[in-house]
């Protein structure tokens, strides 16, 4: 049976959590790609490592310490960059390396070199328990509300920030809110694919959708569909042939991107021939 892999309780948790994470990643990735923030996403996710390690050291839920750390680093990057003293990519490069280094020190002091850390780095979706599921549900609700309220402001900001300001959009507030929401999404996406692979979920779905669509609304739909489809097939496949699920999901997404690029190229070639 197809749904045989869904029998165990942990698989149901994994599927539910995974689908919610891919839903919000699919939505957010559109704005990350349009605002060219891929590196910001990668920077924040790596910075989260410092926070997660702090959780291990203090023996509290790494969700909260990781979240606090990512938001802090995201805001620091924003402040340094808007002051105009340092380029954005330089700021990210410095902050996330320092946050990770601090994380390594925290781990050293906590003396927990265990499997948990591998899970944090590369994802361990099968370990999603009821508590994590609640966290994912809460974050999903916040992200959906945020997009519901700020959708048009986000689109305008992504299109032309200066013009959005001139037209009376509270640009600075929306920028900070977006970063905070991004940090939230990254923290729960870590359950699914781990720190190292989070940026794949934040970039590839929208990159696929960009090749297949022309309008932002269809782009949002295709992006989330791709993320959820990759999650579903990735989980099933990793269960059937015993592969690490996070990595499997990312590789399937990359496959989608490859196919979408081929399709786009053929379409263009066809148009040129006409």
């Amino acid at each position: 049976m197809m749904i045989e892999w869904l029998q165990p309780g942990f698989m149901q948790n994994a599927l539910l959590g995974g689908l919610m994470v891919s839903l919000i990643c699919g939505l957010l990735s559109v704005f990350i790609v349009l605002r060219r923030m891929a590196f910001v996403g990668a920077g924040i996710s790596h910075a989260a490592f410092g926070g997660v390690a702090l959780g291990f050291l203090l023996q509290v839920d790494p969700f909260w310490t990781g979240l606090a750390f990512s938001i802090l680093v995201a805001f620091l990057i924003e402040v340094v960059q808007t002051r105009g003293r340092v380029e954005e990519d330089t700021a990210i490069g410095i902050f996330f390396a320092v946050a990770m280094a601090v994380g390594v020190l925290f781990l050293h002091f906590s003396r927990t070199y265990n499997a948990d850390i591998f899970g944090v780095l590369f994802g361990n979706i099968l370990a999603i328990g009821p508590q994590q599921l609640w966290q994912v549900t809460g974050v999903t609700a916040i992200v959906l509300l945020f997009l519901l309220f700020f959708y048009k402001e986000l689109v305008f900001l992504s299109f032309d920030e200066e013009m959005a300001w001139v037209c009376g959009v509270p640009v600075q507030a929306v920028r900070y809110l977006f970063l905070a929401v991004l940090a939230l999404v990254i923290i729960v996406a870590i359950y699914l694919v781990g720190i190292v692979l989070v940026s794949a979920l934040l970039v590839i779905p929208a990159a696929v959708a960009r090749n297949l669509t022309r309008h932002i609304q269809t782009m949002l739909v295709v992006s989330t569909s791709m993320a959820m489809a990759a999650n579903l097939t990735g989980l099933a496949l990793s269960y059937q042939i015993d592969l690490p699920s996070g990595a499997t999901i990312v590789i399937i997404l990359a496959g989608f991107f490859f196919l979408a690029s081929l399709w786009e190229r053929r379409k263009k070639a066809g148009r040129n021939r006409d």
Binding site: L34, E162, A164, V166, C167, G168, H215
Partner: protein, 258 residues
Amino acid sequence: MGTAAVSIKNVTVSFRGEVVLEDISVEIAAGSFVGILGPNGAGKSTLLKVILGLIQPDVGEVLIFGQRPRKLRGRGQIIGYLPQRPLTNPHFPVSALDVVLMGRYGLLGIGRRPSRRDREIAQKLLAEVGMAAQAHSIIGTLSGGEQQRVFIARALSVEPRLLIMDEPTISLDACAQDELYELIHQLQEQMDLTVIMVSHDIGAISGHVGDIICLNRRVYVHQPPPIGRLGLEKTFGCSVEYLFHGEIPHRVVRVHDD
């Protein structure tokens, strides 16, 4: 006399210690069509940004219809703005209609979607700039001239009293430039607008606007065109080769000293 549309008093702006605008004082009367002329790097765009409130001057005061620019922002928009490069990402996935609607986002406020009335206003403006048929085309697929019309419609979608344009003709061919000027004159009359236009193209601007402000860090005001060669040379700091005087464009031969 009513309040001036724009009143700039003793404004100085500097970036990282370098003075870009020096002690600028200008009054622009409501209902006029003013061209700001000057060479590259003269501070033309900076002056516009000061008027918009994007840049705060180090010294001096700016009043738009008697109010400070930053206070005006978002509260019943008064200024419509056409930036120099309005399409920063040519592949951005939105339609012409979406772009015009964006102009109304600030007025709508957070959490509210454009209403039927907003859509009607946007459609009407697209029709006025002659782009009704392309309302649902993706912005990047339109030609440069068509895009410029869409962005003018967006600037007007806030229902402004003051329209500010930064080099609106820069990427257009001669034919499209003339059409654009005609369109702006027509809209100015229809909507009772004050128009400020920045350009470095002497020929184009002097044939179309009322007053000319020559800017090169400082300000030189000329009432009606044609402007004398000497005045322009003072602004540009070099000899002026081509000029429009009245109706017919012709070359001004510089008198050499030797």
